[in-house]
Assembly symmetry: C2
């Protein structure tokens, strides 16, 4: 047991990790095309090129696959979160964030997947918790930017910056939903969205 390092180093382990990834990718595609509940475990296995039984060697079940996808969504938002950490003037940071998040959500996949996860989150507490945690991270970072903007007199004094952060995020996501459901390009809606947000937070 002396030289037991590199736990994921063997050829086998690498292949296993790759299989897991393929299954997750396939699941995402299936959930996007047909929705979570309309997707069968066989659909995922077939699409991933994996046997039905083997899928259960990698995941405890269908529910676990969705839970893992939900946690993975968090890492996809890392670049957007990074934008909020910049030290440029708060209004510029806010503007950049709105653009970046809206652009991320301009991909219908991301919106549909989020809706799928949200609607499952209502009745599955573990997924609901993931959702809330992901959201809190985004809200905290945005609220910090708002607070800084208030201190610098770029933004108006608002009752609760965290509350405002929630509202701004809801605006972006709501616009993205609308874009997907109505077929309008996100680009067409972005300027109106920004105008509204800036008006809501500006010093006045």
């Amino acid at each position: 047991m002396a030289d037991q390092r590199a736990p994921a180093g063997t050829k086998r382990d690498r292949a296993t990790a790759q299989r897991r990834g393929r299954i997750l990718d396939a699941a995402v595609m299936c959930f996007l095309e047909n929705g979570y509940h309309q997707t069968g475990v066989r659909d995922i296995a077939k699409r991933a090129g994996v046997s039905l039984g083997n899928l259960y060697n990698h995941f405890a079940g269908k529910h676990d696959i969705l839970a893992e996808i939900a946690t993975l969504e968090r890492t996809e938002l890392a670049p957007v979160l990074a934008l909020l950490a910049r030290t440029d003037p708060a209004p510029a940071v806010l503007d950049g964030f709105v653009t970046a998040y809206a652009t991320y959500l301009a991909k219908p996949e991301n919106v549909i997947l989020t809706i799928e996860i949200t609607s499952e989150a209502i009745r599955k507490p573990d997924i609901g918790d993931l959702f809330v945690a992901n959201r809190a991270e985004l809200v905290d970072a945005l609220a910090a930017v708002l607070t800084r903007g208030i201190a610098d007199r770029h933004f108006r004094a608002m009752p609760d910056p965290r509350d405002t952060a929630h509202l701004i995020i809801e605006l972006i996501e709501g616009t993205a939903y609308r874009s997907v459901l109505s077929g309008l390009a996100m680009g067409k809606l972005l300027s109106g969205l920004k105008d509204f947000i800036m008006a809501a937070v500006r010093e006045g």
Copy 2:
């Protein structure tokens, strides 16, 4: 045939209409508790106190039941729409609308049902169309109020009142979702919501 009025007056027809209503009510309850796809047609029939086969005498199938519920949602919003038709000063009308719509959505049933319908609307065009139509009605009425407020110098000149109307509605709904998902009372979130909306539209 002289005195043959009341074409839907027979005892039979009234009983039939009542049965339909019971089925719809049962379906709503089931969809709320377990979600659309997790609800079986047998669950609905059992809850309505109706035989499985008979349910198909009243509805073409499970999908049709959801479609009818979606259209029924429209009529439930009639009181809220009526508020928007009032001729009080625009800011007061807007305030009343936000309160009313938020109060309507403060009932978790309404939010959950809306989410359930929305997520089905993505892949079922007929339900998607219903959703868009319902939304358009609300947006048009709200946009008219905004336009009036702009003319009266109560609201700032905004690029597109319809766009703004969309955003305001998305704010209210987003806040309602948050209220349901996080367990916070809608009352706690309402003042922050109003503050944000008023700041976004006020003359400045």
